[in-house]
């Protein structure tokens, strides 16, 4: 009898949680949007910023009583799942999200997890908006992923050209965080710089994630005497330390990166030593931000406590999703409609001041199809505790 009770216990122990997991929640007129990414551990900030951005957008709409799609008011609900940067978890997260009927998912953050999720999303007839740069996510036959931001290989050549023509840079050294995404960015960067006729003084150097003292690795880089150092795929936590170490070592040239950074972190950790640091921005710099962007920042602060400039590049994904759904309500349950709309969709970028910048889907030049959110290509320069917009470009389409 005791044995049977063990059996029953085990059965219960496995089945009961599963039953809870399986319980479907269907509420009327709720638009559920998924967020799948790393929200704990060392890289927590990446996924958390995605999550906060989506939640803020939802807050903004919900405060107005919801979003109007096809004459119906939808409340936006964000379902955010932590994948701990583990592809296995990303996959079960994606299965969970799609099984709840969610069609649009933001994230994951890096190549590893984004590629693992790709088949799941494709099969489930859903779409996701990763912040990873691997081209096989976006080039046909892939058809379910849309790059949520500007890729390094898109902004790199523009930045190097700027450095070459405006700052007289002739040689560049590349330093990457030793991870798949960053190394890819480094390789692409090296090729782009070579095409521009720049001399590459270091093309393979990396530092381990978790490094805090960058003196050793930068000592070596600086010995190659580059005019500029490009930091490939550098994490927001590392950028100020790299700037500081380079300046402490007496480096006088330019420093730049192709990813988004946060000005407060730079100011706190590196202070004036980060002056002149080039990075990619969203639309949050004061020069170009619209009132909508200001309101968004306030809403973000209300939810999270403080603004993060990294979020400036991540405001677009959900905004664009909603705009497309509003244009063609059929897309709410059918991503094929959405994909068709992507070809032609265009709207005024609500976050940029002039009211002329277009927000559409782009990426044809790089991926062969429009599979990228047409985030304006904003290059910032750090100057006295804040970012100054250097120039705004567009992605070749």
């Amino acid at each position: 009898m005791k044995n049977r009770s063990i059996l029953r216990c085990t059965l219960l122990a496995i089945a009961a949680p599963l039953a809870i997991l399986a319980a479907p929640v269907h509420a009327q007129d709720v638009l559920k949007i998924g967020v799948n990414g790393v929200m704990s551990g060392e890289a927590a900030s990446w996924g958390l910023v995605n999550k906060y951005c989506a939640e803020t957008t939802a807050d903004v709409y919900n405060a107005k009583g919801g979003v109007d799609i096809g004459g119906k008011k939808y409340k936006i609900e964000i379902v955010a799942l932590d994948d701990k940067n583990d592809p296995k978890l990303s996959v079960s997260n994606a299965e969970k999200l799609t099984s709840e009927g969610i069609k649009y998912i933001i994230g994951p953050n890096i190549d590893t997890t984004a590629l693992a999720v790709k088949p799941v999303v494709e099969r489930a007839k859903a779409m996701n908006f990763p912040y990873a740069f691997a081209k096989e996510l976006y080039s046909p036959p892939a058809n379910a992923s849309v790059l949520g931001m500007v890729a390094s290989y898109q902004v790199g050549p523009i930045m190097y050209d700027y450095l070459k023509t405006k700052k007289g840079v002739k040689s560049i050294a590349f330093l990457a965080r030793n991870e798949s995404d960053s190394k890819n960015q480094q390789q692409e960067g090296v090729e782009a710089a070579k095409k521009l006729g720049l001399t590459i003084t270091a093309d393979k150097d990396t530092y381990e994630p978790g490094t805090k003292d960058f003196m050793p690795v930068l000592t070596k880089i600086i010995k190659t005497k580059p005019d500029a150092i490009v930091l490939s795929g550098v994490a927001p936590a590392d950028a100020p330390l790299l700037n500081k170490a380079a300046r402490d070592l007496g480096f006088k040239g330019s420093l730049s990166t192709e990813t988004a950074q946060d000005s407060k972190i730079l100011a706190q950790v590196a202070g004036a030593k980060a002056n002149g640091f080039l990075s990619v921005g969203g639309a949050s710099t004061p020069e170009i931000q619209s009132d909508a962007m200001k309101a968004y920042i306030e809403a973000y602060k209300k939810r999270v406590g403080e603004w993060n400039d990294e979020a400036g590049t991540k405001v677009y994904a959900l905004e664009l999703i909603i705009a497309v759904l509003q244009k063609n309500p059929a897309a709410i349950n059918d991503v094929e409609v959405f994909k068709k709309e992507m070809e032609t969709f265009s709207m005024v970028n609500p976050f940029v001041k002039d009211g002329k910048t277009k927000l559409e889907f782009t990426g044809k030049a790089d991926f062969g199809r429009r599979s990228q959110v047409g985030v304006p290509l904003v290059v910032n320069e750090f100057q006295d505790k804040d970012f100054k917009t250097l120039f705004v470009g567009t992605i070749k389409n």
Binding site: I14, I20, L21, K88, S99, T112, S180, K183
Partner: protein
Amino acid sequence: MNSLKKRDIYVSFSVLAIMLVLPLFIGQSRYLLSVLMNCAGLSVIALGVWLIFSIGRGYIGQAGFALIGGYTTGILLTRYNLSYWVVLPLSALSAAFFGALIGSFILKLRGIYFSMLTISLTEAIRLAFLNGGSFTQGSKGITGLPQPFSGDSPLPMYYLGLALLAFALLLIWRVHYSRVGRIFRAMRLNEDLAESFGTDVWRYRVMAFAIACGLGGLGGSYFTVFIQSVYPQSFTVEHSIYYMLYCFLGGLEYVSGAIVGAFVLTILFELLREFQQYQTLIYGVLMISVILLLPNGLMALGSSKSEGSKKALPPIGGADTTPGKADAKPMIGRSS
């Protein structure tokens, strides 16, 4: 021992049986199936770690061998276009081979030194693949791997996971509950004693390590085709630590402990998703509570009482009945 083994049998059998029939009820939900596939794969890997615990070593290097299995799968599938049914056993064998090779050197270390060394080993293996040049494609990893089953249904993959779990369980079961397993346990409690009655301790250690690493490779290969890619960071120190946790929280005295730990912790983490950003925090609190309240693992739940009551001595003739050192706690790495 009998009550222990019985409990072990019932739990192992129940897990397998339930997994076998569960798709009848949840076959629609890819999500639930994928959670269970994770559980199964992690159990296979953790069973290997469990075996190393049974010879008295705290092993935190299993992720390295899962990675070896994963890369063997990735490389053989993409370069040589072999069938997955050939690649799967080869992956396990290559991990077992490297396990035996490395194990024959490092297994002489004990206690904390062995544990720490295996942490370093996980890192060293990851870095080796990271710096493997075009052979391993460095940090780009190997992607776009074919899945062994065509078609849309996740069930074949699910049952492959179940089959691997059953195989791993049977293997460890047979080893543990045979003479070989007793020798392993003898080595855990006193290697010198085991050696004194003629056991070639070194050989058995290496054997155990090869089996363990083989299971690591098997699980690594499964996950590699499951997510259709493998990267240096697919299996890291953090994973190694989790595999160890599964064994501990499940219970080191039971073969099924590793499985129970893997299932409970994985499902628990999913359940806690309701708590959003507090998920991992609550997870940590619950884990500490389990360690405090159930120091011998979940499998020992409710068993301490029954064992205590058996302490009454049976009648034995003649001698006085001072309890011997038999009650001494089994400890790892004790030397005479």
